[in-house]
């Protein structure tokens, strides 16, 4: 996937198909072709050149099926198509299209197979191939796993190239010119005499022709857009308050709803809505699965009224008190809970026997996603169709689930994906759509907008996994000699896929992700995953398993390096066998001027984690201000194969550092009486502007594989902070949030 220089044509063959009113181009040929989703929705005179490009007389539309939650996915996808199509980004409109199996995500399966990203051996490739086929079969049009760039990098440029060459052929046919004499630029074919024909004027002719499939992707040295600083396609709208998000969607006859379901994640025993029914603007009070909703003529009135309902909630299906959750993890480090041991080098037990053993225990809490836009969905259900307008990362699951609830065929369910005001994994769940559908089915065809209050969004958030790790290790002759890490957590994948009714067989790679596959050559090295019993519902939170394990793995390594009396940077570099990974450490050492004198009360920590195939090294610098820690600076070097847009890249990495360090400082979700104790940003704060450090970012391009950067900056950050605090104060913090142990400025 995304291998530079190798075009994986076996996974992307552009074909053609005749349709009423013209020809549309593009489907995947892969044993059994996936049909072209645009063919079902073509108007007269429109030509769908590939599943990614649509041109009619009115304009050029680039279809960007990976959803945008702020990471710039629409922009990056559009740029990749535009590079080969020879259009400027301000000439096109961008549309996420409708969900379809053709948009399955091939890159996600690479992360699902249990092989290290550094492992290019035969077994790894073979297994990845099998997962590809499964992913295609399931039609998982998912945005996640930092896969948008790897999945799109060749597919979308190839789509652009096929469309361009076909338009040239159409121009040749229209003018009689030799196609080899034609050039393309800025959305037009340039004729030998210098005249131009806009692509939009060629659409009708192109619709009558076979696609030109014999295309060669351009050499990177000729790229106009990719790798260059660009203006993000959505930046004007987002700088003027004119970007519409899911929560802003409006339509005629729409009513507003708000919902409460059990804060204990269990059943609703009963409710009294008498007071709510009397409130101004209330249209109806309706039941949904395990909860109750108010339908009103205004969002605020719906929220006020639903909060006025007196509800009797049943008990939680998981332990009621937080201490019991921790105890469950603590009890899970046993052989009967062992889920995986993918890493077992040397002989750890023998190396630890008789050695002075360094031991440590680490903890990471539940966390909410809490994107700033509360979740919402507009659903309209009539006798013969259902429409959903929402910001979602899983449009195909949404389509299937709405079909199940309504009894309609999936072909009668239309999912319109809208811009998301953040997600961080939150919109990989679709409870809001299911509830909106249940409400809409009781509203006789009226479109229903369901908006969660912030409090409901927090309480119902399927959180980041809680996790615990135990390390045992030993050093010898100033080097790390033995490293044994056990990690216990409930399975995120089982919890998340369970809510979609999908069983997931085998070990859960996420239990050890960010730890087992680290490219470190320690003579005796073991990483064991323990699957704790299911607790509170957990879901994918930016960087998933690695968000906890990157912290555990690297802080324990740092403890051993200190025990060995080695330099934290030099020893990591010595241990790292993987050349592109080592270069990230060397880069961040150079960027931060590692080893230079810092003066009093300051400290620096380094951490490394490879996650989602991206080796990422970070240095954090802190000052101890009379016992309170101020985070001054952060340096990040990450190996991504290819940076698509340096501005977007820098912004996203800086933001990911703020995300990671903010939660590390001060955020957690805890349970009491079966309910999340946190309700709003006053008790789930994250980082504020005044706390935000200077963040320096470098994207390295030494590897041969293109990778996505939505998540890999997160896992090392907490570790680098812990290591920096240790360097500045001598205090070792092994638990997040760290403000349980030390104050922050």
């Amino acid at each position: 996937m995304g291998r530079i220089g190798k075009i994986a044509r076996r996974t992307f063959l552009v074909g053609s198909a005749a349709v009423v009113g013209g020809v549309a181009f593009g489907y995947y040929a892969y044993k059994r072709p996936v049909s072209n989703p645009l063919l079902n929705d073509l108007a007269e005179g429109e030509a769908a050149l590939t599943p990614y490009v649509k041109i009619d007389s009115a304009g050029i539309t680039l279809i960007t099926p990976r959803a945008d939650s702020g990471q710039g996915a629409y922009h990056v996808q559009a740029a990749l198509i535009a590079e080969e199509l020879d259009v400027e980004l301000d000439q096109v409109s961008v549309d996420p299209g409708m969900p379809d199996p053709a948009y399955y995500n091939t890159a996600l399966s690479a992360e699902a197979a249990p092989f290290r990203s550094t492992d290019d051996g035969f077994a790894a490739d073979t297994t990845r191939g099998i997962m590809d086929a499964m992913m295609k079969f399931m039609g998982m049009q998912i945005t996640g796993g930092s896969t948008t760039v790897p999945d799109s990098f060749e597919k979308l440029r190839l789509a652009g190239a096929v469309a361009r060459e076909t338009l040239k052929a159409a121009a040749a046919e229209q003018t009689g010119a030799d196609v080899s004499d034609l050039k393309t630029e800025k959305g037009a074919v340039i004729l030998p005499g210098g005249g131009t024909i806009a692509y939009t004027e060629l659409a009708a002719t192109a619709a009558t022709m076979d696609p030109v499939n014999d295309v060669t992707l351009r050499d990177p040295s000729t790229w106009r857009l990719v790798g260059k600083e660009m203006e993000r396609v959505d930046i004007l709208a987002k700088s003027t308050g004119t970007q519409a998000y899911g929560i802003d969607f409006e339509m005629d006859g729409m009513v507003h709803a708000s919902v409460r379901t059990s804060p204990r994640g269990g059943m609703m025993n009963g409710f009294d809505a008498e007071a709510a029914r009397e409130m101004r603007g209330v249209i109806d009070v309706v039941q949904v699965t395990d909860g109750v909703a108010v339908v009103a003529d205004n969002t605020w009135r719906a929220i006020q009224a639903v909060n006025a309902i007196d509800v009797d909630w049943g008990p939680a299906p998981y332990p009621a008190e937080q201490a019991e959750h921790w105890q469950t993890l603590s009890d899970s480090f046993t052989s009967d809970h062992q889920d995986s041991r993918f890493r077992d080098d040397g002989d750890v037990d023998a190396a630890l026997e008789g050695a002075e053993v360094v031991e440590a225990e680490y903890r990471a809490p539940y966390l909410a996603h809490a994107p700033l836009e509360p979740i919402s969905a507009v659903v309209q259900v009539t006798d013969d169709r259902a429409d959903v307008w929402t910001g979602t990362q899983i449009p195909r699951f949404v389509q299937t689930n709405v079909a199940k609830l309504t009894g309609l065929d999936t072909g009668q369910v239309f999912v319109h994906v809208l811009m998301m005001g953040g997600s961080f994994g939150h919109r990989l769940e679709d409870r809001v759509v299911r509830e909106a559908t249940e409400i809409a089915m009781q509203m006789e065809g009226a479109p229903v907008k369901l908006t969660y209050s912030r409090e409901e969004d927090t309480v119902q958030n399927d959180t980041r996994q809680i996790a615990m790790a135990r390390g045992r290790g030993a050093v010898k002759d100033g080097k790390v000699e033995a490293y044994d890490l056990g990690i216990a957590m409930p399975s995120v994948v089982a919890s998340q896929m369970g809510r979609q009714g999908l069983p997931v067989p085998g070990p859960d790679l996420q239990i050890v992700a960010g730890a087992w596959e680290q490219p470190m050559q320690i003579p005796n090295y073991r990483v064991t995953g323990y699957r704790a019993p299911e607790l509170a519902p957990v879901s994918s939170w930016r960087s998933v398993g690695a968000s906890t394990n990157g912290f555990f793995h690297d802080v324990f390594l740092d403890e051993l390096i200190h025990a060995a009396g080695a330099d934290p940077m030099e020893e990591r570099i010595r241990l790292c066998w993987h050349d592109p990974s080592r270069k990230t450490l060397e880069a961040v050492a150079e960027m931060s001027n590692w080893g230079s004198d810092l003066g009093p009360n300051k400290g620096r920590g380094v951490a490394f984690c490879m996650s989602f195939g991206v080796p990422t090294a970070e240095v954090v610098e802190v000052t101890n201000m009379d016992g309170a820690i101020k985070i001054d600076k952060v340096w990040v070097a990450a190996e991504v194969g290819r940076v698509i847009d340096p501005i977007n890249f820098e912004n996203m990495v800086q933001g990911g550092i703020v995300w990671a360090l903010g939660h590390t400082m001060n955020s957690e979700i805890t349970y009491a009486d079966g309910m999340a104790e946190q309700r709003n940003y006053y008790d789930f704060e994250g980082m504020r502007l005044s706390q935000s450090p200077e963040i320096f970012v470098r994207g390295l391009e030494n590897g041969d594989t293109v990778r996505g950067m939505g998540e890999p900056m997160v896992p090392p950050a907490a570790a680098a902070l812990s290591n920096a605090i240790f360097a500045a104060t001598g205090q070792r913090i092994r638990e997040m949030p760290m403000n349980k142990h030390i104050d922050f400025v």
């Binding site: 939650s69 702020g70 990471q71 203006e231 993000r232 959505d234 930046i235 004007l236 709208a237 987002k238 700088s239 003027t240 308050g241 004119t242 970007q243 519409a244 998000y245 929560i247 409006e250 507003h256 101004r280 205004n298 969002t299 605020w300 009135r301 929220i303 994107p371 700033l372 836009e373 509360p374 811009m419 005001g421 953040g422 997600s423 908006t451 209050s453 912030r454 409090e455 501005i647 977007n648 912004n651 996203m652 800086q654 933001g655 990911g656 550092i657 703020v658 995300w659 903010g662 709003n680 940003y681 006053y682 994250g686 980082m687 504020r688 502007l689 005044s690 935000s692 200077e694 963040i695």
Partner: protein, 152 residues
């Protein structure tokens, strides 16, 4: 009751205690102002009343004491305010959901304090949460906007 928003007078029939945020969004269909927390913790709902930055989620409709300006009234894609230009120039936004509030807060800061120090910026902008973490760019954009306004 009567409300003047972005220079236009509106007659609205709402409860006295309906927050201005929801009057703007649901009654007047002015959607640039955002709902984030409802309790003045995030700043996404920031608008100006007589030029002063306020949290519209905590301002009851009956208490609105002057003319209301939202991000749509600050500037438009065709005629941007200096703050919006600076936000564009620095490509501040990721998801962008908080940025209307950030820009309204920044515009109010610069109207009161044309040359803010880093500490002034920290103080003024600290109540505006950005979950995407665009703070570096927000800081830089506030400074650029300050320069633009001083040159103007």
């Amino acid at each position: 009751m009567k409300l003047t928003v972005n220079g236009t007078e509106h007659e609205v029939d709402v409860e006295d205690d309906m927050p201005l945020l929801w009057v703007l969004r649901d009654e007047l269909n002015i959607k640039g102002v955002k709902y984030g927390c409802g309790v003045a913790q995030c700043g996404a709902c920031t608008v100006h009343i007589d030029g002063e930055a306020v949290r519209s989620c905590q301002t009851a409709a009956a208490d609105v004491w002057g003319d209301v300006t939202t991000i749509e009234g600050l500037g438009t894609p065709d005629a941007m305010h200096a703050v919006q230009q600076a936000w564009m120039e620095h490509q501040v936004a990721q998801c962008g959901y908080c940025q209307s509030g950030q820009m309204m807060q920044a515009a109010s800061l610069l109207a009161l304090n044309p040359a803010p120090t880093d500490a002034d910026i920290d103080d003024a902008m600290n109540g505006n949460l950005c979950r995407c973490g665009t703070y570096s760019r927000i800081r830089a954009a506030v400074k650029t906007a300050a320069t633009k306004l001083q040159e103007a």
